[in-house]
């Protein structure tokens, strides 16, 4: 069964077809990788799924709910969380607070309680703060909880983004190039975090250029090229697909 399914999704920017007629279903508990050459429309695809772009046509469904055209905050509220390709942490907040912002929809809401500092609210805030620490620990950043996010090195900021998404207890986690620009040691740590997360019951969808990582982690791979889905299947199957080889390496002239 597919909790997230995409039906003939198209996105046009003026005369450019960023995505055309993409249809696919992400199985529950999958580690679904989206690959493709630069400019293939991978990030645009993510932006359509998470409410950042409104698709020109087609639909996105979460279970039986049509979520096409919902705003980004509404999509987030439905349990679809994402990270960004060009790491976007909140620089002047501490790592801990970054994660707490991720828990926005789970935090105590009473305004009067906030002003008076009621015990119930304090307890919830404390519990949430402890949970934030646990998620920081999960991605290996426990020692950086008090540091400003903007002062962390690139690889740590990427992991912080993952913790910030996970504290929301998402059903589906979308990772936009999690391994881009990180060192090989950090890449292995990251792979471990992604595998753990998927095993913990979160459906993970990731855009990734690192073929080795994709082959190592993914259960299903989809290949986009010029906005079209050219292949979908198991890693080995996709790897030997002639259309995929053509897209990456160019066609042999006959």
């Amino acid at each position: 069964m597919s909790p997230l399914s995409v039906d003939s999704l198209s996105l046009r920017f003026g005369g450019l077809d960023a995505l055309s007629e993409v249809s696919l279903g992400i199985p529950d508990g999958a580690l679904y990788a989206v690959i493709g050459p630069n400019g293939a429309g991978k990030t645009s695809f993510f932006n359509c799924l998470t409410g950042y772009y409104r698709p020109s046509s087609g639909s996105v469904r979460l279970d039986d709910l049509d979520i096409t055209g919902l705003g980004a905050s509404q999509v987030a509220a439905l349990g679809i969380r994402r990270t960004f390709q060009n790491v976007r942490v909140f620089p002047k907040l501490s790592a801990r607070e970054n994660v707490l912002v991720g828990a926005h929809l789970r935090a105590g809401t009473s305004f009067v309680g906030t002003l008076l500092g009621t015990p119930g609210l304090r307890r919830r805030e404390r519990a949430l703060a402890e949970e934030a620490e646990r998620w920081l620990d999960y991605v290996g950043l426990a020692h950086q909880a008090a540091s400003l996010a903007g002062a962390l090195p690139y690889g740590m900021r990427k992991r912080l983004e993952v913790a910030r998404a996970l504290i929301a207890e998402p059903r589906i986690l979308l990772l936009d190039e999690p391994a881009a620009g990180v060192s090989s040691v950090e890449r292995d740590e990251l792979a471990e975090v992604i595998r753990k997360t998927c095993q913990g019951g979160v459906t993970v969808m990731m855009i990734e250029h690192d073929v080795e990582l994709v082959m190592q982690l993914a259960t299903t791979v989809a290949v986009l090229d010029h906005g079209q889905l050219i292949a979908e299947g198991g890693p080995q199957q996709v790897r030997n697909d002639p259309r995929v080889l053509a897209a990456y390496l160019g066609k042999r002239r006959k």
């Binding site: 998470t50 409410g51 950042y52 705003g71 980004a72 905050s73 987030a76 509220a77 969380r81 994402r82 960004f84 976007r88 909140f90 620089p91 002047k92 907040l93 607070e97 707490l100 912002v101 991720g102 926005h104 929809l105 935090a107 105590g108 809401t109 305004f111 906030t114 002003l115 500092g117 805030e125 020692h143 950086q144 909880a145 008090a146 540091s147 400003l148 903007g150 002062a151 962390l152 090195p153 690139y154 910030r164 929301a168």
Partner: protein, 367 residues
Amino acid sequence: MSVSDSDLEDAVAVDLGATEEGVFRAVSRRRALDVLGRLRLVGPTLVVLVAVAAVFPHLVQTNYVTSVAMQVEIMMCLALGLNFVVGYAGMLDLGFAAFFAIGAYTTGLLSVDLHWPILATIAPAVGVSLVGAIFVGVPTLRLRSDYLAVITLGFGEIIQNIVNNLSQTGGPEGISGIPPLRIGSLVVTSTTGYYEVFLILVVIFLAISSRVRHSRLGRAWLAIREDEDTAQAMGIKVRRYKLYAYMAGSVFGSITGSLYGSAFIAIAPPSFGFSESLLVVMAVAIGGIGSIWGALLGAGVVIAFPELFRQFSDARLLVFGVALVLIMILRPQGIWPETGLGIQRLGGTLRKVARRVARKPQQHRDA
């Protein structure tokens, strides 16, 4: 290789992606110590500060100093209000005096024409300002940065023009004979009395500001300020939260205005113009955007500096301007930035400036 504190801070400030993890560990450890030190000191320091502030007018015994101190407190209240909008949510509001005016005029009209007690006028004043905030905020808060600044500037001008031209608000002459504040059998009439009233208001506003900052609401505001699009991915309804910030600011502004009217007995349009709005923005910016302590210090600077420079007579505003420029050069992040005072960094800056003034070639120690 030995690395000094200021070097560490610099390394963090310029955010070198390649800096070793060990350095960051050292920094975060020191930060943790800072936090511990602060926790132990903040409470008692605050109590002492408030106590000193409370007895201050009885020590100086001059009406002039007390009156200036009271104006500083009023500016503190306004700066804390604007801090929600500019400091937390990151929206530039150039018409904040509008809410100050709404508070003052609502109280003025109700107390003079309808003989309401001052305390009873605060709730309607807040109500009117909230209506104003929603009326202006709902259609415009989707605008970003400069556009919002222009709209709020316009709102400020509109309110000032309304009170300047309506006969009901006394036109250019404003409203006079606003009765003193009564709390039970206590009637506040002296400058010292109002000084104490505003001191209490500052403490209340301070407590609210700091509570809210560390709540879900405050975190959502800061997330919006830092990165609006990403905030949405956290499930934050950005437009709604921006409106909350604008409303919170308007509440602080109008309460301050209500008591201002009572303290000064008479109110008139010139007190609520663009220059007043700008002064509040300056207080927040000079103090350090988003920083509660910064807003308080900034309020002190923008009110007290022109008074301190009275000896320069005609040139005092010039000296004030130079002082502001100096602050901006020495502390571009504000006097007391929200990320902490950074004493080490301040020391480093002063050393650099001293070196530059001494015209010695600056030595770079490269890591």
